[in-house]
């Protein structure tokens, strides 16, 4: 077996391994709850992220179209602070001992 084929076989085996571990993890209640919580958290983050994007884009357009460009900092400062603080908060939550 040449090395490319062997490498491909190994990568497929690793993909199969991850899939089987995921499927087998759903056998017990804890695994199911973990999946459910991941779906909820991912959805919440996606909605919050997309919602924030749409809201701030809409408001920016509105301020500029109304000739109130000086109000843009009211949008940009919260975004700036969130950008700084969020990575710290997320690290603190995910590294819970």
């Amino acid at each position: 077996m040449n090395s490319t084929l062997r490498r491909r076989g190994q990568l497929t085996a690793i993909a199969d391994l991850r899939w089987r571990m995921f499927v087998n993890g759903l056998r017990n209640k804890r695994g199911k709850m973990e999946l459910f919580s991941r779906i909820v958290v991912t959805t919440a983050f996606a909605v919050a992220g997309l919602g924030g994007f749409i809201l701030s884009s809409g408001l920016s357009w509105y301020f500029v179209s109304q000739g109130k460009a000086e109000w843009l900092p009211f949008l940009l400062w919260p975004i700036f602070f969130f950008w700084q603080v969020f990575p710290i908060m997320s690290t603190a939550f995910t590294n819970w001992p």
Binding site: M1, R6, G9, A13, R20, M21, G25, R27
Partner: protein
């Protein structure tokens, strides 16, 4: 007949800061040998086996497995050996069959061959009766058998075993021993570390003893026995077993200079 050693080390050393865990070891293991590697706790056995299997880089020295330089061609060596490390590192969320099949495919077997051998090994190891059971729910002995099965699924020419019988019941130990003896009969070489000297004495044809990182004895059991008896006679001492052969335990204790503390009493103990 090919007389080149299957495992060969020259000046193999490993330091951890100031500590010299393995100090310039020269090992020679011939093809087809069942080789026991013994030593007290902390002597450097596991460090040596990790270096021989490419899991730990030596500080200095050279390792050749099957005539291949481990440092120059580690992947080629790893393809031809099997390893059962002390901490077995199994995937708990897989079934036994899934785990063995994965191990086989990582060694380069195709999916069908891997699944077929996995089924045969599970049957041989008496692990086939609960096919849906996850590895995390296996007992310690079952996990040892599974780790052993994973190490041999690709038909290795050399097998490294670090304490394979630790925590294994008599029935499982019997299964493992019969498989190992079968491998030796078919020409494989086995390198084994164990604290259970009776097992080493029964299985191994050749033994090396490491003490404080240095190799203090190496040879067949008869050679070690003869050496210890000669030293004892030269020192004018009694072997303590008149007319009987020295056991490996007695040889080991004399070589590493370990005397059991019989004079010290623990008065508070029972």
């Amino acid at each position: 007949m090919n007389s080149a050693p299957t495992i060969s080390t020259q000046g193999l050393s490993r330091r951890f800061g100031e500590l010299v865990a393995v100090d310039s070891i020269d090992l020679q293991v011939a093809p087809g040998q069942f080789f026991g590697f013994l030593g007290p706790n902390g002597a450097g056995k596991s460090t040596t086996i990790k270096m021989l299997t490419g899991l730990l880089a030596p500080t200095s020295g050279r390792i050749e497995i099957l005539g291949i330089d481990l440092n120059a061609n580690p992947v080629e060596v790893k393809r031809q050996i099997g390893v059962v490390p002390e901490g077995m590192a199994l995937f708990g969320r897989l079934t036994g069959a899934e785990f063995l099949s994965f191990a086989g495919r990582m060694y380069g077997l195709d999916r069908e061959t891997s699944a077929k051998r996995a089924a045969e090994l599970l049957e041989f190891m008496q692990l086939a009766d609960q096919p849906k059971k996850l590895v995390t729910d296996y007992s310690h002995g079952m996990q040892k058998k599974l780790a052993m099965a994973a190490a041999v699924i690709h038909g290795p020419k050399v097998l490294f075993l670090d304490e394979p019988f630790e925590g294994v019941d008599a029935i499982a130990a019997g299964t493992l021993k019969s498989m190992l003896q079968g491998m030796i009969a078919r020409g494989a070489t086995i390198f084994l570390t164990s604290h259970v000297l009776e097992i080493v004495e029964r299985l191994c044809s050749h033994v090396a003893i490491i003490h404080r990182g240095r190799l203090v004895a190496q040879g067949s059991l008869q050679e070690l026995r003869a050496g210890v008896e000669a030293q004892t006679h030269a020192a004018g001492e009694d072997t303590g077993v008149s007319g009987e052969k020295l056991t490996l335990e007695q040889i080991f204790l004399r070589v590493v200079g370990g005397e059991r503390r019989t004079e010290q009493e623990l008065s508070w103990l029972g």
